[in-house]
Amino acid sequence: MGLSSAELEVLLLSLKIALWCVAVSLPPGVLLGWLMARREFRGKALVDGFLHLPLVLPPVVSGYVLLVLFGRQGILGGFLEGVLGVRLAFDWKGAVLASAVVGFPLMLRAVRLAIEAVDPRLEQVARTLGAGRLRVFWSVTLPLAIHGVLVGSLLSFARSLGEFGATITFVANIPGETRTIPAAIYTFLNQPGGEVAATRLVVISVVVALVALTAGEWIARRTRRG
């Protein structure tokens, strides 16, 4: 049973969005994870709560907020499109943003916990050995927390593959642009006689999920040992 070109298109789009989701989540995830693990500041609990909101809110709400902010008439959306020429709404880049926002708490938590587990005295030793803060981060903190960074990336990737509510609210369900696997399954299920096509996509998504999880487990085991 080979994949039809339409199925392949949906699969590749889903993977593209998921990979980009990881790529855009990583820098802020690592930065904020470090900040939350290592720095004390006023309103830290509030910031923490805010960053975790997407985990608790219904994805539809996250998607609606994104639409308000980044829609073509939105405050930020208008600026982005007018000044930078970047359109997010009804575009695959918007799907990346939606899944990044929804998956961000997972990335953040994994990174933060991993950095908290690094003995801060190792960082202090590194500084007495002549390494500045940034060097210490790259040469001690990050390598020792890399496990958490990879786990966070995997969770973010998986969350993106499964993302539906925020994506469909923010960027709709446009074939070839924003129609990911879950959106395609939803579409087929709403068509009379679409069950077979939907089932094929379900099988595809199960296979993709298993491959991703196995790869993640393999990476996790290697980094734990290394």
Binding site: L129, G130, A131, G132, S139, L144
Partner: protein
């Protein structure tokens, strides 16, 4: 390498710092000459805090920190060098090796960040000195406790520090390992000419390294100077007793026999046999004995294996929390404490009639005597 700078009494470390802690404010104003200074004090006295202030890991509320004439911190002038620019080595109680790097990468961590002109030692030299050449490719989890601590020491030394801070570096090692590491520490300040600030609970450990001691209590320096002059100050004595009282006697080397493993020393006219040490005849040094390791007799006993008998008279009998301490004047004066503290049971005090003024003999096994540093 300029060896004279430290030995001519140039101030190596000048501290005048204040730092508020939860229970008290640390206030330390001291100047330490070169070589090695030990910091002694009960837990929570602020010893580690003081090291962190010197290293730049904590910032004093007020004050100055100068090492080798270089100002590292001066609150009034707004100078505060970050730890990475202070060039102060720090060896912690736990070795804190980087677990993701092998031994060699650990050793080179600081060395590689140092401008070539500032590198004082070739890695090979330090590796030879600490005898860790065979470990270079190992992962840190494969090392024993003593090996780990030596690698941590080598890592700090290869960063060419101006000063080496050591926070109870041997606390996690057993006694056998300790006695094998201490010679390395002696090499550091004799061969490499790196001054050391050494925090420890153990007087015995300190005395193998240096006689310069600073005693810290609730954030204040309560005594500072030659251990043999301050050991009997009321502020210091209880501390010394708490961690295993160490009697200290000034002695002069008479002869040594490596084959028998014994050296003969003279202590104010009385001969003492001590474990062999390869120091020249006539060298003056200190030896230490624990109060627990001395036996009292009313007269010179016959037929004992004990080699050392020092005669003296009792000057004080004291009950310290249920343990009896008998102080015996053995007639040592110059530079020494002149009296030995001996720990005995209440029963012994009663049966032997140990009282002030009585003549007694102090018996010490050769191997219960520890060799201390040479006198300047």
């Amino acid at each position: 390498m300029d060896r004279s700078a430290h030995s001519t009494g140039v101030t190596m470390l000048a501290l005048d710092v204040e730092y508020a802690l939860a229970e008290f404010t640390l206030r330390v104003k001291v100047e330490c000459p070169g070589a090695a200074t030990a910091i002694l004090g009960p837990s929570g006295a602020g010893k580690t805090t003081l090291l962190n202030l010197i290293a730049g890991l904590l910032r004093p509320d007020r004050g100055t920190v100068r090492v080798d004439g270089v100002v590292l911190h001066a609150s009034d002038e707004g100078i505060d060098l970050p730890p990475e620019r202070r060039r102060i080595g720090y060896v912690f109680q736990d070795d804190l090796l980087f677990p993701h790097l092998n031994v060699e990468a650990n050793l080179r961590y600081g060395y590689e960040r140092l401008p070539t002109a500032d590198r004082r030692f070739a890695p090979e030299r330090i590796i030879d000195l600490l005898e860790i050449g065979a470990l270079l490719q190992r992962r840190t989890v494969q090392l024993s406790g003593g090996e780990r601590q030596r690698v941590a020491l080598g890592r700090a030394l290869l960063a060419s520090p101006r000063l080496l801070l050591m926070d109870e570096p041997l606390a996690s090692l057993d006694q056998g390992l300790k006695s094998r590491i201490i010679p390395y520490l002696r090499h550091i300040h004799s061969d490499l000419d790196i001054p050391i600030i050494y925090v420890s609970h153990s007087v015995a450990e300190i005395l193998e390294l240096t006689a310069q001691v600073m005693v810290l209590k609730r954030g204040q320096v309560v005594a500072h100077g030659d251990f043999f002059h301050i050991a009997h100050q009321p502020e210091v004595l209880p501390l010394v007793e708490e961690y295993g009282f160490e009697n200290v006697l000034p002695v002069e080397m008479v002869s040594g026999d490596a084959a028998l493993g014994v050296s003969l020393v003279r202590c104010n006219g009385q001969a003492l046999k001590v474990p062999y040490c390869p120091r020249p005849v006539g060298a003056r040094m200190f030896v230490g004995v624990r109060a627990d390791d001395i036996i009292l007799a009313r007269s010179r006993p016959q037929g004992l294996s004990v080699r050392n008998m020092l005669e003296g008279h009792i000057v004080e009998v004291k009950d310290v929390e249920g343990k009896w301490l008998v102080y015996v004047d053995v007639g040592v004066e110059e530079g020494g404490v002149g009296r030995l503290a001996v720990k005995v049971t209440a029963e012994a005090v009663r049966e032997l009639g140990l009282a002030v003024g009585e003549q007694v003999v102090c018996l010490m096994k050769t191997h219960s005597i520890r060799l201390g540093p040479e006198m300047e």
